[in-house]
């Protein structure tokens, strides 16, 4: 039996166990909530975790399609990137997979273990990229929001270079006064 087919056979069990371990990385009151509440809208974190982790398990036994893996990981990490986790904590869930597979499939051959190990490392590296991307997004949306907040001002400022419109002047000085007032 190939390692893929072994993993495929047990993928639901692996995903379930993995999910429970990841849920336990939250405060105990919360981990129970994540595990028990089934509604995807009332428990979006639990739902996203569950879907994402089983998606990854599925790919482990198939072809490790990078785009699917990336989507699953992104869904999970996007949330963990804004929760109370340090960067290492945020992606630590990936390494739990090794532990879970060891427990569910203790009979794996050395080669198979090596396969799993390599796959987990691959996922970990991807996770690192995704985590960084999420954090960059976080700072970018902050900048973008500030831009939108003064969208009209920027629009006007661009025109200002060419136009000598009194209205523009009023507008700009008014807002600049105000910004000074706020700062």
């Amino acid at each position: 039996m190939t390692v893929q087919s072994l993993l495929s056979e047990k993928k639901e069990q692996i995903a379930k166990k993995w999910f429970e371990l990841v849920a336990d990385s939250y405060p105990s009151q919360t981990s129970d909530f994540l595990k028990s509440k089934k509604n995807q809208f009332l428990n979006p974190v639990g739902f996203t975790l569950k879907e994402g982790l089983s998606g990854i398990c599925n790919e482990l036994s198939l072809g490790m399609d990078e785009s699917i893996l990336k989507k699953c990981l992104d869904d999970i990490i996007r949330i963990r990137a804004i929760q109370d986790f340090s960067p290492s904590e945020a992606i630590s869930f990936v390494f739990l997979l090794k532990k879970v597979i060891q427990e569910v499939l203790p009979e794996l051959s050395e080669d198979a273990k090596e396969y799993v190990s390599v796959m987990v490392e691959k996922i970990a590296l991807m996770s690192f990229d995704i985590y960084m991307q999420c954090r960059e997004d976080l700072f970018e949306i902050r900048v973008r929001e500030a831009e939108k907040r003064n969208f009209r001002l920027l629009q006007v400022a661009n025109q200002l270079m060419e136009l000598k419109d009194e209205r523009v002047n009023d507008l700009v000085t008014g807002v600049i006064d105000n910004e000074k007032g706020k700062g």
């Binding site: 371990l21 990841v22 336990d24 990385s25 939250y26 405060p27 105990s28 009151q29 919360t30 981990s31 909530f33 994540l34 509440k37 509604n39 995807q40 809208f41 009332l42 428990n43 979006p44 974190v45 996203t48 996007r78 949330i79 804004i82 929760q83 109370d84 904590e89 630590s92 869930f93 390494f95 739990l96 090794k98 532990k99 060891q102 997004d137 976080l138 970018e140 949306i141 902050r142 973008r144 929001e145 500030a146 939108k148 907040r149 003064n150 969208f151 009209r152 001002l153 629009q155 006007v156 209205r167 523009v168 009023d170 507008l171 008014g174 807002v175 006064d177 105000n178 007032g181 706020k182």
Partner: protein, 538 residues
Amino acid sequence: MAKFTKKPKDLIADIDYSKTPSTDWMDTPVEFKEHTFCWGAKGKNLEIVGFPNARDWSPAEEDWKLPHDWENTVMDAIKDRLSKYRSFKLFMDICVRCGACADKCHFYIGSGDPKNMPVLRAELFRSIYRRYFTAPGRIFGRLAGARELTLQVLKEWWYYFYQCTECRRCSVFCPYGIDTAEITMMVREFTNLLGLNTDWISGPVANCYIKGNHLGLEPHTIKSSIEFFLDDIETITGIRIEPSFNRKGAEILFVTPSGDLFADPGTYTCMGYLMLFHELGLDYTWSTYASEGGNFGFFTSNEMAKRLNYKIYAEAKRLGVKFIIGGECGHMWRVIHQYMDTWNGPADFLEVPKSPITGTVFENAKTTKMIHITEFTADLIRNNKLKLDPSRNDNLIVTYHDSCNTSRGMGLLEEPRYIIKNVCNHFYEMPEDTIREKTFCCGSGTGLNAGENMELRMRGGLPRAMAVKYVKEKYGVNMLANVCAIDRATLSTLMDYYNPGVRVTGVHELVANALVMKGEKPRETNLRQEPLPGKEGA
């Protein structure tokens, strides 16, 4: 080599992935984590409105520069508010901690922090109430769930009560109707007595007090920014609109959140108002003095909110209008619907609102004399007073986000939906548990829409974002409509993070896109100056 004697398996077992706080909540001290709280208020902004203990301060620093007898200030204030608000007193006494509210808070769902469960958020304060205001608390102390008021407790209050958006979702599920918003308002009052507010709230409050609006736009700036919209409208429709400002004798005063004057995409909603009113030939005026519908004072103290709200009736009286129309805003409508008349009424100098176009009398506003623009527009559409071409919005697949305040503090649910369905051909609801009275907050209400607390906002907005994601994947939704200025700004950001490709709009932007105006040139673009469906090649 001794270091490596452990087998790999054991090493894995050694890593502790769990973050469970094993301690009781009273023994878990608050930790100020970066990106989860707003910056402290500036002294000069507090001074402008006469708030106590005006000085610059930073929540992240150890020393909060509190007055030396701050405990007494808080105690006196608690006593005073208990005697003034039955809601406050009752909600202190009757909670049975059944936990029905626990998982209803968007901040709890998104963060998993137990102190974000509404019941525990309230207990942060209730424990102090018990200690100093109830006999069992005085006698049995901790056994009765009581604890001493310390600096740590104060900091914990500040951290968590500025993580509540007063959305009232918990109140919907509470068997006794306990409303955490009421408790948050009170605790925020106490913090304001010590000069503990955020820069993001106190800045707009000071601006609004002196200049009439949160952004601090001066009269000429308001006018010129609206004139820029008029230029854009002329470009799009070929029609030049000429609104009036501070005009005496107008029939209607129009008040909207000032965010619509500057922040994208609220600006398009504002253009929508201008176009609609022009098309109707409405006899209305803008005011530069009462140029703010929103009320950040509401996030500081009841008194401050009243002081800012005063301008609306005062200006209506000065200008001699008959009634007032209010624009699309969330907390503005909580204030106008449930507070304004009580604070600054009776508005006996106004008349019961009557639509000059349809003749409909708005009996539901017969004492406050202010109607919501979606009530006004829904009535127009119902009476066939608008020529609409919804196909102009055919590139939009729309869903609608109920604002917390208009849904749970007013009940404005069908009016905006009726309008959207008449101006758009593709409208899909989000799942039932996430709309109407069960709507999820944008995560940035009550003045939490700053930049420095972005992580917190993304946690609070998570449940909303996930519901949008669902309709995005299922129906291809690409436009999130709402009737709230804060939503328009913050949901855009939320979508950028979780659901790129979904944009945000006010309802009246959609209306104006579909509105066929008399004498307009064939429209090539929508208000955002993007090609209309079918005109992409042009």
